[in-house]
């Protein structure tokens, strides 16, 4: 079981690193997907090892995938809109609302 959790953990760490370091919003979103995916794997692994025959973990993952899809779609829509307004998707430059 640990063999499945370790890659998931590494994937999650990569997601964290990417999310904190990248400036492009789409890249951040990609990192976010990595993290989500790592979590999904955990659900599945725990389900499979600890509660074989049940499907809670699987359904959770299923819904997570659905929500991730929705979220990504919406986020990308916003990003595109921002890009239209600012010709830029750099997260640091988007501080007009602050001032």
């Amino acid at each position: 079981m640990i063999y499945y959790l370790i890659p998931a953990l590494l994937m999650f760490c990569c997601g964290v690193y990417g999310f904190v370091t990248r400036k492009n919003m789409i890249a951040m979103l990609i990192s976010l997907e990595l993290m989500l995916n790592a979590v999904d794997i955990n659900f599945v692994v725990f389900n499979r090892y600890l509660f074989p025959g049940q499907m809670e973990g699987m359904f959770f993952t299923l819904f997570a995938i659905a929500i991730a899809a929705a979220e990504t779609a919406l986020a990308i829509a916003i990003i595109i809109n921002v890009f239209r307004a600012a010709r830029n998707v750099d997260v640091n430059d988007l501080n007009k609302m602050k001032h």
């Binding site: 964290v16 999310f19 904190v20 370091t21 951040m28 997260v91 602050k98």
Partner: protein, 676 residues
């Protein structure tokens, strides 16, 4: 006595001031001048009536059966009540010295009003700008000065004391476009104000311990059974003495509080009367129009200090230390001013220093006066000299004014040899000089002689000192006289009018004052004005003064004066190099005298370098940078703190995530460690 006349004496000048001040600018010049003069003329008549009624009316209100003169309050109304006992009243006090001043002030004031009608216009008869204002201020001054001398309590005196200071300020600065006049007026006001601070503190101390402002309660005991009538008597200020005895002789820094109070009050007198070291304003005050100098800075306002000491004389007698201080200050001032007067070029400055010196004479006279000696002759002599000095010094100033008006300059270098052009002025000036030098039978001889007698009775040292000053007086006055009227022939420049005597409005006052200066010495002052009201002479006639002279003293002083005049004649009658040689012989002395012993520079240093430079500026800097800086600093710190906290709310999602994550991990780690 009826109160109408006293009220009118004060009300008319006040009304004139308001009338001329508010509507003067709409009036023609001549009308304003005439109104002012007429008002003053009325006051003159009323004051004479009052004074003569007091001296010769024989009313029991004014004179006791044994011939003792009494103090009488004509009216006294409450103006401001501080506590039940401390009340400022505005009233009218008649006693020998206020009656004397009621003669002096309106006389000089009226002369000056009349004289100014001529003086305050140029050669073509065009009135000076602000002529009406000038008359308004003169009226204000007359009002204030009269209010001062008739004050029934020390606070009324202080009020009018301030008012004369203000009117003096306004009149010195009459030519307000001239920077020197403006700074002179400022100087005069501030220096006297500083002195008044002492006066005020003195009043505070005195009133705290005695619980009263009233002169009569301070200086005498009431006559039994007669409301409002007080008697100056041998047991002077018994009541006051008791108060000081009761409060266990309160001491402050090694002297009794009464001494402190009296010295502080005398400080007020020093300021107004230009005693050293507060004399520096008076020479500069000569920037004002000359009639003003004659009225305010020679005859009336500057003797207010003398009057103040005379008014509180019974109190001063209780603390002879304070009288000794007055003697020392007066004697030093007299000598100093006489020295300086010998080396001045500006004729008004010479007269100003002469005034300082003569007032110092009066001060010394009051200071050396003791009841044990000749029934307190010094007091009488001081007031006598006040009277005669007012007359002849006003005369000298008005003469100087006439000369300046003609020549257009204050320096004697522009004059020289005017005697042929201005014979009347010449004669009047000469009479004035003889009077101040103390030549018999002119006014100054008698009064100065009495002062020297008083000094003689007090201490031989001060007698010799003051005699020397008297000699110096004769010398510098005749130096001035010769330099104006003799020395060399007057050159009339091309295109200028030849100097000549002035119109009647200007010469008439000169003649009148000269006449008074000739005869004023025969006024039997010893019978009229004494410190306790008891007349000095049994029989009064015109020559009383002559017969009561102390001839040994008189002859010595006469001799000194004549010698001094001879020296002056030798040095200055004709143009010669002697004066320059003298100056070269003592260059240091000449320099110091010429620069008035550098008092002005010293004050300049103190005010500008120390007060402004070392106190005001640092305080202002401190306020801007430390106090305000602290407040701003508080704001800045708050601001900075806000910005620092604001950094956390940067809106940078990545930072949020990072902080969140680290926080969560730390929490997890801590929990884990704790669980282990």
């Amino acid at each position: 006595m009826d109160i109408t006349i006293p009220i009118l004496i004060l009300a008319i000048p006040l009304f004139m001031f308001l009338l001329l001040g508010l509507t003067g600018m709409k009036m023609p010049h001549w009308l304003a001048g005439t109104l002012g003069t007429a008002g003053m003329g009325t006051v003159l008549v009323l004051s004479y009536i009052t004074a003569l009624t007091y001296f010769y009316g024989g009313s029991p209100q004014f004179i006791a059966e044994n011939g003792e003169r009494l103090q009488a309050v004509i009216f006294n109304c409450t103006w401001l009540q501080f506590t039940p006992s401390l009340v400022i009243k505005l009233g009218f006090l008649l006693d020998p010295i206020s009656a004397l001043m009621l003669i002096v002030i309106p006389t000089i004031s009226f002369m000056v009003h009349l004289y100014s009608m001529g003086y305050m216009r140029d050669h073509h008869g065009v009135y000076e700008h602000g002529f009406q204002r000038f008359y308004a201020f003169l009226s204000l001054f007359s009002f204030s000065m009269l209010g001062l001398v008739v004050a029934t309590n020390i606070f009324q005196m202080y009020i009018f004391w301030e008012l004369v200071g203000a009117s003096s300020y306004l009149l010195i600065g009459f030519y307000y476009k001239k920077p020197s006049a403006v700074s002179a007026s400022k100087k005069a006001f501030i220096v006297t104000r500083f002195a008044d601070l002492g006066f005020l503190i003195g009043i505070l101390v005195l009133s705290y311990y005695t619980g009263t402002f009233d002169f009569m309660q301070l200086t005498s005991a009431p006559v039994d059974g007669m409301e409002g009538v007080y008697q100056v008597s041998e047991q002077t200020a018994l009541g006051v003495k008791n108060i000081f005895a009761q409060s266990a002789a309160p001491m402050f820094m090694g002297a009794s509080v009464l001494t402190w109070a009296l010295v502080l009050i005398f400080m007020g007198g020093m300021g107004k009367s230009a005693m050293m070291p507060l004399h520096i304003w008076l020479p500069d005050a000569m920037e004002g129009p000359t009639p003003v100098s004659a009225l305010i800075h020679a005859a009336t306002m500057v003797v207010a200090g003398v009057y103040l000491v005379a008014r509180l004389y019974p109190l001063y007698l209780m603390e002879t230390t304070s009288l000794d201080i007055i003697v020392v200050v007066g004697a030093l001032t007299a000598f100093y001013a006489a020295m300086v007067a010998c080396a001045q070029i500006d004729i008004k400055r010479v007269l100003a220093f002469s005034t300082i010196s003569q007032i110092a004479f009066m001060m010394v006279s009051l200071g050396v006066s003791r009841p044990e000696f000749h029934e307190g002759i010094g007091y009488m002599a001081g007031m006598f000299h006040l009277f005669t000095h007012a007359m002849f010094k006003a005369l000298l100033f008005l003469c100087a004014g006439a000369i300046i008006h003609v020549v257009g300059s204050n320096d004697y270098t522009a004059m020289h040899g005017l005697r042929k052009f201005m014979p009347i002025t010449n004669a009047c000036f000469l009479i004035g000089c003889l009077a101040i030098a103390g030549i018999i039978p002119f006014a100054g001889f008698f009064s100065k002689d009495e002062i020297l007698v008083a000094c003689f009775g007090h201490s031989i040292f001060w007698y010799i000192w003051m005699s020397a000053v008297a000699g110096l007086t004769a010398f510098y006055m005749f130096r001035l006289y010769y330099l104006i009227f003799w020395w060399k022939e007057h050159k009339v420049h091309e295109g200028h009018h030849a100097p000549a005597d002035q119109p009647w409005t200007m010469t008439l006052p000169l003649v009148i004052l000269a006449a008074i200066s000739c005869v004023a010495g025969f006024v039997p002052m010893g019978n009229l004005v004494t410190w306790n009201g008891v007349p000095m002479f049994e029989h009064v006639n015109f020559f009383t003064n002559l017969t009561h002279l102390n001839w040994s003293v008189a002859l010595v002083s006469l001799a000194v004066a004549i010698v001094a005049i001879i020296i002056a004649t030798v040095m200055y009658r004709k143009e010669n190099p002697l004066p320059d040689r003298m100056a070269d012989m003592f260059p240091r002395l000449w320099d110091w005298c010429h620069h008035r012993f550098y008092w002005d520079e010293l004050y300049q240093f103190i005010t500008h370098k120390i007060i402004f430079g070392c106190i005001s500026r640092p305080i202002a800097w401190f306020d801007r940078h430390i106090i305000d800086g602290a407040m701003d600093g508080l704001a800045t710190v708050t601001n900075k703190a806000s910005y620092a906290i604001r950094g956390l709310q940067s809106g940078k999602i990545q930072m949020y995530v990072w902080v969140y994550l680290i926080g969560a991990l730390l929490l997890a780690a801590v929990t884990a460690v704790c669980l282990m």
